[in-house]
Amino acid sequence: MADQRMIVVGGGLAGLMTTIKIAEMGVPVDLFSVVPVKRSHSVCAQGGINAAVNWKGEGDTPLVHFDDTIYGGDFLANQPPVKAMCEAAPGIIFLLDRMGVTFNRTPEGLLDFRRFGGTKHHRTAFAGATTGQQLLYALDEQVRRYEAAGLVRKFEIWEFLSAILDGTGTCRGIVAMNQRTMEIQSFLGGGVMLATGGPGIVFGKSTNSMVNTGTAAGAVYQQGAFYANGEFIQVHPTAIPGEDKLRLISESVRGEGGRVWTVKDGKPWYFLEEMYPAYGNLVPRDIATRAIFKVVFEMNLGVNGEPMVYLDVTHIDPHTLERKLGGVLEIYEKFMGDDPKKVPMKIFPGMHYSMGGLWVDYNHMTNIPGLFASGEVDYQYHGANRLGANSLLSCIYSGQIAGPHMVRYGHGSAVNGAAEKAAELEKKRQEDTYTKLRKLNGKENVFVLAKELGEWMTANVTVIRDNDKLRATDNKLLELKERWGNIGLHDQSGWANQELSFIKQLWNMLELARVITLGALQRNESRGAHYKPAFPERDDANFLKTTKARWSSDGPELSYEDVDTSQIKPRPRKYDVDKTAA
């Protein structure tokens, strides 16, 4: 349909790329975001974006990138889409370059590339240490161009509440709420993209932005969308703890030569270099995080007895640091007061990224026809552990392929009476929900409940997992769900009521928390970021499988789907020695 509109929810890299692709085909887009899109969480990505262009003559190829990604993800990702992504990566970097991203340059004026974890190659293009911000701005500018041309309508400060499903279970649009007027409205579209990011706030304090509650994914999960591999949560080895959040110190710091150490027998001990001689400080994140946990908790060698170790760049030339890592070192100095060019940084691991997310097919459609997902909210590219600088790539790549698929899909589904009727019903359902929420007058404070949720999830469902503790956590989640019904709403205002919105978000977060916790409980093996000391080995016979959670009123129903390993045969994953060829 020429007059058909598409709906994109989320204005980070994945949502903006989807929008650009659709608009470029001449199809109008309604773009929804809880924040002005330029403030989306993609701005937080620091280190860079991967593409095997081999501009350093190291013999890098998209196939090596593909193998590093699959191996880094401990073979849990379906291989065909990962291969396609790695092949598309150089083209994506060139596109971003043409859009004017201020990538760092070599003396010849070419794009510069640096090293990142889990690879031996200089494969990461970067713009200082604020690459995500620079990429987001480039896409934001292109979307603004389409907005000025009338092809994109922005609905900023609107929150997605639910999908509109017609009688056949097909997604026909969305119901959303204006976060200022608190008005609820329905919007119809030929296809709906959810590019709503990860669920970091489920863990309370993480490296994520405040908007990353996972509420949209939680909402459609309760409407029947499958959530896959929820238990795979990446804890980044180098963050700085804070009262409000954990701030990321980019892996690029190690990519540029930063060394991790602690004091042992009165001397610096570069434990990653000693434990993993082949990759040293550039082991993948799950490996580095567990090593830091071992040093701090098993060997009691944290700096000054505290849970922290050093990340040291004081041996690197200050001008190089300024040029390549300026943004991230500046964050450390602003929050901690020390200049990392002179004093080693003190860091500790922090929850960072969800490899799991909404289940999608290779065209990024969920199991609900017409509902698509791209970016961190999908589960497609990172298996059991994501390699650094692959997330910006997967966001852009997934948006790039999903946009055209949405348009192709949308041609068959015109707006009609059935869609309008479904929209009316869903809008009514949401209005009724909020009418009830406004009457909540119990004793619990929604923000206190969220804090408890975060503390339990961080303590029991991150780096080290134990089945008894996971069971206890699920019981806690059930308790929190019950207490949720006893929340008291302080703010009765009908204008910009953040507390009211957060009550609904917390419910969706609790639903996702159960998926994450029970997925971890049932997976009795260790793979990538999922580590159970009681089951220390990878168990391909039983668990080389995607976890799929389906909502039911009794809690998530888990099933397992085979992984497509047609390209690279699974082999043991080790980083103390060089990675063997595929």
Binding site: E24, G100, R105, T130, E243, D244
Partner: protein, 249 residues
């Protein structure tokens, strides 16, 4: 002075047209608090210092790493991001107020739509042919990249406009942030092809002529963007264009 608690005064406002009022809060001292974590603590127990139940304070924030620009407000009278405002470095009671150059939505939240509209008006983008695989972009020297990167870190936070005497609701002035973006896009080899379009906007109503050269903007920019250098460069570019236009008319 021994501080065992943290005191905060918040200027509150229920809506755009409502009258503002002040509320004071006190929470137990902890090291490493910033303005955001204090506001979070308050919403977990929204009671004022004199024991009155109130509503959680409304504010805007997202990244908390000073890269998104969302949490800009006046902290002890100075415009800045609240996330990097560490309590240990602030005089107490800490006063929090919304920015004054934009319409207040509620409490500390303001509506900065005007800034994004200015970027649209200034055509602040590189007009690419399409997103197809058309090969690498133009070569750029490391020196040019370093300058462009500085300009490109603008978060559209609005600090520069808050302190600008010329930026208010009676003029259409776009302000330093947008002017620096024009210089950024005119610097890019592809963006330069549409330089004249952007300069025409900057030579019109609300453009560079409105700049009073107060130079407050560069002092408060949290990303230390060389705003006055950029404005100087824009002045040069518009002057050159003016002369060319006169000669070739």
């Amino acid at each position: 002075m021994e501080t065992r608690s943290i005191r905060v005064r918040v200027k509150r406002q229920n809506g755009s047209d409502a009258a503002p009022y002040w509320e004071e809060f006190e929470i137990p001292y902890k090291p490493q608090h910033n303005v955001i974590s204090v506001l979070m603590e308050i919403r977990r127990n929204p009671v004022t210092r004199d024991g009155k139940n109130t509503t959680p304070v409304v504010w805007e924030s997202s990244c908390l790493e000073e890269v998104c620009g969302a949490c800009t407000m006046l902290v002890n009278g100075h415009v800045r991001q609240a996330c990097t405002a560490l309590i240990d470095k602030l005089e107490q009671p800490v006063t929090l107020e919304p920015m004054t150059k934009f319409p207040v939505v509620r409490d500390l939240q303001v509506d900065r739509t005007r800034m994004f509209e200015a970027l649209k008006k200034a055509r602040a983008w590189v007009p690419i042919d399409g997103t197809y695989d058309l090969g690498p972009g133009p070569r750029i020297s490391p020196q040019t990249q370093e300058f462009a990167y500085k300009l490109s870190r603008c978060m559209t936070c609005g600090c520069c406009l808050e302190v600008c005497p010329q930026y208010n609701d009676t003029t259409n002035f776009v302000g330093a942030a947008t002017m620096a973006q024009v210089v950024l896009f005119n610097l890019h080899p592809t963006g330069e092809m549409n330089k004249d379009e952007r300069l025409e906007v900057m030579m019109g109503n609300g453009g560079i002529a409105e700049c009073g050269n107060a130079q407050n903007c560069v002092q408060v920019c949290p990303k230390e963007i060389p705003l006055t250098t950029a404005i100087g460069e824009l002045g040069r570019q518009t002057t050159v264009k003016l002369i060319k236009d006169l000669l070739w008319r």
